[in-house]
Point group: C2
Chain length 341, copies 2
Amino acid sequence: MALDERKARILRAVIEEHIETGIPVGSRIIARRYSLGVSSATIRNEMADLEETGYLDKPHTSSGRVPSDKGYRFYVDELMPRRGLTREEHAAIESVFRSKVMDVVSVLKEAVRVVSETTCYLGFVLGPEFADVTYQAIHLLPLSAGKGLLVIATDIGFVESCIIEVPVMNREEMAYVAGMLNRHLTGINLDGVGDRAHRLLHEEASRYAEIIDQVVDFLRSMVSDAGEERLYVGGAVNLLRQPEFQDIDRARELLLAIEREGVIQSILDSQSHAQDSGIAIGAENRLDSVADVSVVYATFQVGKSEGKIGLLGPKRMDYARAVAIVRDFERRLSRFFSQDN
Amino acid sequence: MALDERKARILRAVIEEHIETGIPVGSRIIARRYSLGVSSATIRNEMADLEETGYLDKPHTSSGRVPSDKGYRFYVDELMPRRGLTREEHAAIESVFRSKVMDVVSVLKEAVRVVSETTCYLGFVLGPEFADVTYQAIHLLPLSAGKGLLVIATDIGFVESCIIEVPVMNREEMAYVAGMLNRHLTGINLDGVGDRAHRLLHEEASRYAEIIDQVVDFLRSMVSDAGEERLYVGGAVNLLRQPEFQDIDRARELLLAIEREGVIQSILDSQSHAQDSGIAIGAENRLDSVADVSVVYATFQVGKSEGKIGLLGPKRMDYARAVAIVRDFERRLSRFFSQDN
DNA sequence: GGTTAGCACTCTATGGCCAGGAGTGCTAAG
DNA sequence: CTTAGCACTCCTGGCCATAGAGTGCTAACC
């Protein structure tokens, strides 16, 4: 199935031309703009072959060619140049990590924003699962009569909080309860914390069973949060600038599917059989709603857990740039979250 | 400028018809669908008067009428029925406050989602400013060598965190620093905390000056955050379902203005000369980018501070429903944040 | 005087039609 | 194997005619 040199060159030219212009590309254009040393007729023949072998498609009988999924796949695997970052891209990415006060969620949101802005596609980050995370500290603060604020900080800088119901108690008593929770649960993997907390604390302090139950509930919800809470999506507007989303119905359906049906998680899940990073092109991800978009993502390390950063755009995407940007973010985020930066 | 009974009835009919169908409405339709007891010719005459006095507009010479900003204004001030919530709306709103583990940010985000879903417009919440807030506790936790996690909990259940640089110290020392910060700053209005912290702590503990500086920076950034961080927007997709946003350029420009130029804050700011709730119709808010949309909002109490919840939709909006939903949310959010719920 | 029927007029939206242009596939010559 | 030439296909955009909705005006009516 390997292509000979010339076919590959032509395929690459067609794809890059199409990526740039967005319209079907004909043999004349290729002959003129790319100096391949052959005439348009020859290119025409080669393009016919490429169509027959499935690398190119034709929207209709007498129009130019458009890359097929298989064509894009071959391109990203074999033909695509590895490029670096432009000065602007570099600066934009840099800025995410240079703000003075940084909380992890803001950094992730900023990353999404910058990914989207620099590429003009839709950016996303999937935060780390909490299953592999240990927490540093748990705090319980009086809020108002009958309400307490539960704060849990993990070892990777994520802080989660929620409001729970507490029996009336004074500040000291609450501090005592917090201290107790801290002593028994610090440094434990959140995944196993449920059972342990339950057993341990139920015996020692049945007076605070209600509180403990709620703490356990909250810990469970942190772990099991199936992605909704962990996924940050941004820059949908940028997608509307792409010529393929001038059709408002298409655009709406896609955005709906992303917002409501969690297609991004689905794609990442279906991809995750192995690689740290990847590209999912069009129908490669099985969902109809994303049959004509591509996703480029990479996995960054967050302590023992991991997160993903990526972008979603039309199949006609500047893959070289997308990969460069996503990869760079992956490196920087891994560094940002690493213990020894 | 008051309208006589019949003109008011016709204006109301025109507006409600237009809200429902979205197309310019003619005299025939009004005569047939609304039993006003007069013929289409009479209605035609009245409509001509209403146009002359500025309550109605005509897109072109021989088309039906469309309400003007002035018309909508009169409608919402004088004609609009006060309606309650349907069972479904009630249930949807209820669901926001019934989840077991609630953190304040999730509640606000959920509120945005529900506002948007129930109305099919774009929903938003502007969280409370931190200037009037006092904080409950400050924590400092070791994260990795040279990094610490600063966590600040306010008395209204908001928890903010950030990563700061700390000199190498052991856990006990860090706990001591946290304790010191707590002792000196607990219960103070965040607005004035900067100076006080600075003076007080610089003397007592110059060894920790770097940390204190960063804490102060962070507190300052919490207070001064000009709305970006406080504004939650959601449901932009729903706007794309509205017939007035079938034009993709319009839609894109609007969403861009919302995302990048903060028009929602601008509108709320320009409105805030007084009222707790309000409706800004079309060109009433001075910005071109929102000249053909309306905003309905209400202010809820959060301790001594306040937040706003609202929605943005086409001028041709179901104002009665919008007001009902926004008002209900305002009541519930105020209750949710009140000290004694 | 207010109301209504009738009618001419205006303007938009829709669909068909035609010409122009881009691109292909095929054939035959180099 | 490559290339020039040519007939053919199909999309695109402009143009025109028609249909339809709605208005404003006038004249008749109560």
